[in-house]
Symmetry: none
Subunit: 203 residues, 4 copies
DNA sequence: AATGAATGAGGCTTCATTCAT
DNA sequence: TATGAATGAAGCCTCATTCAT
């Protein structure tokens, strides 16, 4: 009965959609289920969004925005190794904090791949771009080759996503917490070797 | 009326399902589309399988079997480091060889997570189990702690899946080929550090 | 807040409805589309009219009124043949001037037939009545049988509507202009024969 | 329960659609109502036709075919005047025989106009084309200018459609029967004048 | 055994209308 | 007075599945 502004209502539907996508998958996220989750009549969803696709576009923005927030929160003055480690840990903590968010992010990546002909469009690409930007900022003192930045971004993304898949599959929080440490140590080991040789090549 | 043996018919449907799942996702893999891809009448699918879920169970077996084949192909007499590297590379080559297989595997992992209450059931779990067995075989000379084996299996799975996600997202084969090398070097770096200290702890 | 008088508002909606009905048909003339065409919020339409049917009743009046204007414009002192010709030409020119008006008139005729059980109610009937009145006025000197008047009115209506259907179907203005002349000549030929014998029967 | 071949089922739906279109108009002809009229579940309609549009295309064919039958039934050896009169009478009798057919034909004409950008496509055009062919056949002895044929076809179509509109509006069969005679006499009067001068121009 | 025919359930979307402000 | 917000009903269509042959 309370007449809520449309903007706020839309946000409710986005949150509901994240829950439903995580639980039922992208294609199982029917308008009925989303409306029900948002405790709103089905028609109200279509009053706020012209189409399901419009709603999903907003979900998309929401997820991409959360990634960007996590990535940009990292201290820009830190060392490259420290920054990389923080980015990876931040992503994993974000996944660990909300399994639904993690699941929805993976669903969206899968969905974007199927939906659009133009590859690389979507959450994944935006997140990797943000990773690259953050890394470039941290490496501004001793500029690395673009290729090195790309590789580090790739490894962080790979480790974070691989971690997410495992955590979502087993749903075992304590195991995941341990895996987080292992994953960080993997990055550390590789970076130690990788950055030891790379700057040398530049000097 | 070619009178195709039932077994072959079922195999056709499984292969068709893999294609369709990769292209349209698990929920987009409708019985109609699968039957069409298999060039069979819709009713024939239900003649071979009681339900869609039964068919998917076979798809499941097929994918899990392919993983097991890749893993068990690796030389059981090799060194642990070499074995780990081979397992990772084998998985990635398998993904690279058929993007459809990779996509279907990821879809199935996602699907299994949503479908069943009991976590850890499914393709992912079977693959990790197989990884563990292979690693144990390679480490039979100097037995490691179970935890170490678990960690190595986790890291291999994580790296392989993270690699797959990237490759599927961009669909860039040459980039993926380079990523494969990077990914292997990540494993190598970490194993070098990890195995250097672990045995020490045992001695 | 332009504070537009309610009467003007209603007139805007009627005009918008005529456009929309012509373009999308009676059933395609949704309240949304009409409000949009009138550049007014949807709720305003229902503020001015209790229901869509009420609005359509006004559209009805508008169209019937325009017909009456055309018919009553014709010189009441003219000869019967001349009057009949003028009425037919007037109707056709009216159709030709605005295809939207023609289309809406035909839609309303169709709609009225479907809507009401009582046949003959509607735009068509009102127009034919007006035709009869005009013809009676022109024939006041040598009163004809009512049947003759009825027949002339029927023929004029038939020719005008048949013309409209053709013009709307092809949308070819130059062809329609030629058809107008042919149509008038059809009426002339028939009237010449018809009125030659009819008065004779009365004398 | 009887398993009827799809082709026959389709014919049932076409007939049902004609009824429903006549009663409720093109846009009121919902799939639900058509299925109900055909005494079939809604889903069965979509088993026989991929879409509502496909069904309507068949309705289209059915109506156009009936027109063609009526027109081509006319004796090809007859005189032009006789042929024209027969064509007109045939069309009107066809309308009179089934008001539903008449209504559906007019609805389809209206619908085709709204639906397709390319003007002149549809039932109307096909019927007029068939009229022209029939007239050309009858006039083969003393070939007339194409323009004359066109005009005669136009006048027949105009009179028949105008007649139909009146008959549908009032639903008065006895009045319509009288109108039929009047309408034929209108054609006769005009043809007498028209063909008297036209051949002269050719001789 | 094999497959066209058939269908209830549910998918997304739009409708005319009402409510609260 | 005006109008964004809200909604039950109904629109077309596709789904997995079953039935009859």
């Amino acid at each position: 009965m309370p007449r809520i502004p449309a903007a706020e209502r839309r946000s409710d539907f986005v949150k509901a959609a994240v829950e439903v996508i995580a639980t039922h998958g992208i294609d199982g996220a029917t308008t009925r289920r989303i409306a029900e989750q948002a405790q709103a009549p089905l028609a109200t969803l279509h009053y706020c969004y012209n189409s399901k696709e419009d709603l999903f576009a907003d979900v998309f923005k929401f997820v991409a925005g959360k990634f960007r927030d996590v990535i940009e929160d990292s201290d820009p003055h830190a060392d490259l190794t420290v920054t990389a480690r923080r980015l990876l840990r931040g992503a994993m903590e974000c996944y660990l904090e909300s399994a639904n968010f993690a699941a929805t992010a993976l669903e969206l990546i899968s969905w974007a791949r199927r939906q659009h002909e133009e590859r690389g469009i979507g959450v994944y690409n935006q997140a990797v771009d943000a990773l690259r930007s953050a890394l470039r900022g941290a490496a501004s003192d001793h500029p690395l080759e673009a290729e090195t930045i790309d590789q580090i971004a790739y490894v962080i993304a790979t480790l974070a996503d691989g971690f997410a898949l495992n955590w979502l599959t087993y749903g075992d929080r304590s195991a995941a917490t341990e895996h987080m440490e292992v994953t960080v140590s993997v990055l550390d080991s590789w970076l130690a070797v990788r950055l030891e040789s790379a700057p040398a090549a530049l000097s």
